[in-house]
């Protein structure tokens, strides 16, 4: 019972900052579209493994930071990322002990949902693009899921 009060808040904050930093890392345009949505992967990880450490607030605040970094409409990424946090927290009991492959499928669904929300809001605010480049990161993010799980697993005591 005492374990439950020790949420890995510090590790969560540090890894969230690291994920945000990876979004800012300057990359050439060509590589930029392959950059996984590290923030989403991080939010999904913590929502699965420590749903009470950050909760939906983690999604909202990291999303808001992305809004500022990307110069988007304030609230666009915040809404998408809190939705991901919410869905993952609702599903965490079902998903957390699934084998890695099934978890990866779930992560693909989350990345796709995240990008779809952003795409919809882009359309709503009058920015339309026919490019498919924006969906590429769903695939690279899925490939990164397993390494990220292993890496983040070392930052806290699994319960």
């Amino acid at each position: 019972m005492s374990m439950r009060n020790r949420e890995p808040r510090g590790a969560m904050l540090l890894t969230a900052l690291g994920a945000l930093a990876l979004h800012l890392l300057p990359l050439p345009d060509v590589l930029g579209i392959f950059r996984p949505a590290f923030v989403v992967l991080c939010v999904v990880y913590w929502s699965l493994n420590a749903p009470r450490a950050g909760g939906i607030a983690l999604g909202f605040l990291t999303g808001l930071a992305l809004d500022v970094f990307k110069g988007a409409v304030l609230g666009q990424y915040a809404l998408a990322t809190s939705l991901i946090a919410y869905v993952t927290i609702r599903q965490h009991l079902m998903m957390r002990n699934k084998p890695p492959f099934e978890q990866t499928l779930f992560v693909v669904a989350m990345l796709f949902l995240w990008e779809a929300v952003i795409w919809a809001i882009d359309g709503w605010t009058g920015q339309t693009s026919a490019g498919l480049g924006r969906w590429v990161h769903v695939a690279t993010g899925a490939l990164c899921w397993l390494p990220i799980t292993l890496a983040l697993g070392r930052t806290h005591v699994a319960r």
Binding site: M1, R4, L17, L20, A21, L24, L25, P26, D29, G32, P51, R52, G55, I56, A57, G59, F60, G63, L64, A65, V68, F69, K70, G71, A72, V73, L74, G75, Q76, A78, L79, S82, L83, A85, Y86, I89, R90, L93, N97, I121, D122, T125, Q127, S129, G131, G133, R134, R159
Partner: protein, 419 residues
């Protein structure tokens, strides 16, 4: 497992409202933010604070490349530096020579425009800044620069690089500024073809190498290689700053519009140092505050008290008149305002008709300019020669002709006309 599950469900109520309700609250908050942000700058202050908070992380993430540049600079070989130094000296020499000629050209331009004195350059001050963040997608082409409100940066300020125009400031934080590039799909720039003065809009394409010129009719006179400069409309950039070069002109019979593409001159994706520009508020070439006025206005920007129109229009109008009427000997009326202005009677000309105006205005046939009816100067010009030649044929006197006729002009115009 089941023990954990019961533990989890039991603990949730202690943590406040259920996830569904919490998500609802956050979603509502995000939607409110979006609506407020879209409906005109209600969130300017919030953004300002958030940009301040984001600055350290942006700076930190830029530090690897900054550190790389720094170490590179330190360990750069001596001969490489010497070569670069020699090259810079050579460039500097050429630039200084060009600048010498530039001053002469400016003087000449001032003379052609009828201005008494050479105007200072329209740009008053430059401030270099370093790029600390980029966002380059098909939807957004932005840069983050490490200068902000503390450096005096303001919204909708021109940003240039060595080769050409880069963009304008969009959101200003205390220490950092977001710059919207020319190639951002939301950016449209009023431009002009240097060769023939054709005006149009250059719209961003979402690609750092391409500008689109989508509003040119199929028969417009534009071709590959044309240089585009700012036209001075739009209220952000003054006239004449280089923008890009036309790379592709497609005329498709099915469409009434030509498909024109251009490449920006500035290396939008490679420049690391950019410059913010301040323009002289009272310079005629300074853009008027059309855009800023819509946002509440910039108090420092006032309509110019100098009426610039005659000084620009008069040569054109009189040139048209010169074309219309065959230039004959009597048509060369020696009425010359610059000389007349030196006459004592000319002191009654109201001070609003700045030297820039008086000269060609009184020589121009069209009486559009009220100050042209200044006593003593215009009176002999309009009445006595009217019997000899219709007023419409009062020609434009070229600067060369002006110098030729400076001497007779000192005598009354009517006396010149009689013979």
């Amino acid at each position: 497992m089941s023990a954990f599950a019961t533990g989890a469900t039991r603990s949730l109520p202690q943590r406040g409202p259920a996830p569904g309700l919490r998500f609802f609250i956050y979603a509502l908050l995000a939607l409110t933010l979006m609506v407020l942000d879209q409906r005109g700058g209600w969130l300017e202050r919030v953004r300002y604070g958030l940009q301040a908070a984001a600055y350290p992380l942006q700076l930190a993430m830029n530090s690897p490349s900054a550190a790389w540049n720094w170490t590179h600079k330190i360990f750069e070989a001596r001969d490489a530096l010497q070569t670069e130094n020699a090259k810079l000296r050579e460039t500097n020499r050429l630039l200084r020579l060009a600048n010498l000629r530039g001053a002469a050209l400016e003087q000449e331009n001032a003379a052609l425009r009828g201005l008494r004195a050479r105007l200072p350059g329209v740009a008053e001050k430059w401030l270099p800044g370093e790029v600390i963040g980029t966002e380059s997608t098909t939807l957004r082409q932005r840069l983050v620069i490490d200068r902000g409100a503390v450096n005096g940066i303001f919204k909708a300020q021109a940003v240039v690089a060595g080769e050409g125009l880069l963009g304008q400031t969009l959101r200003v934080g205390p220490w950092s500024t977001e710059v919207i590039l020319l190639t951002d799909p939301e950016h449209a720039l009023p431009v002009q073809v240097v060769r023939n003065g054709l005006r149009t809009l250059a719209v961003g394409s979402g690609d750092t190498e391409t500008l689109a010129l989508p509003y040119l009719p199929i028969q417009s006179d534009i071709k590959e290689g044309d240089l585009l400069v700012t036209s001075g409309l739009g209220g952000v950039f003054p006239q004449g700053y280089p923008v890009g070069r036309v790379t592709q002109v497609r005329r498709d019979g099915n469409s009434p519009l030509a498909q024109v593409r251009a490449t920006p001159l500035a290396a939008l994706d490679r420049d690391r140092i950019v410059s913010f520009v301040w323009f002289r508020a009272n310079h005629p070439a300074t853009p008027t505050a059309a855009v800023t006025a819509a946002n509440g206005g910039d108090p420092s920007m006032k309509p110019m008290e100098t009426p610039p129109a005659p000084s620009l229009r008069a040569p054109a109008a009189s040139a048209a008149a010169a074309r219309a009427a065959p230039v004959t000997a009597p048509a060369r009326t020696p009425v010359r305002a610059p000389v007349a202005a030196t006459r004592p009677e000319a002191s009654s000309v109201p001070p609003t008709s700045v030297p820039a105006v008086a000269a060609p205005a009184s020589a121009s046939p069209a009486p559009v300019e009220p100050t042209a009816a200044a006593p003593a100067t215009a009176a002999p010009a309009s009445t006595p020669p009217a019997e000899a030649v219709p007023p419409a044929s009062v020609p434009a006197i070229s600067p060369a002709a002006a110098t030729r006729q400076a001497a007779p002009a000192s005598t009354p115009a009517s006396a010149e006309q009689r013979p």
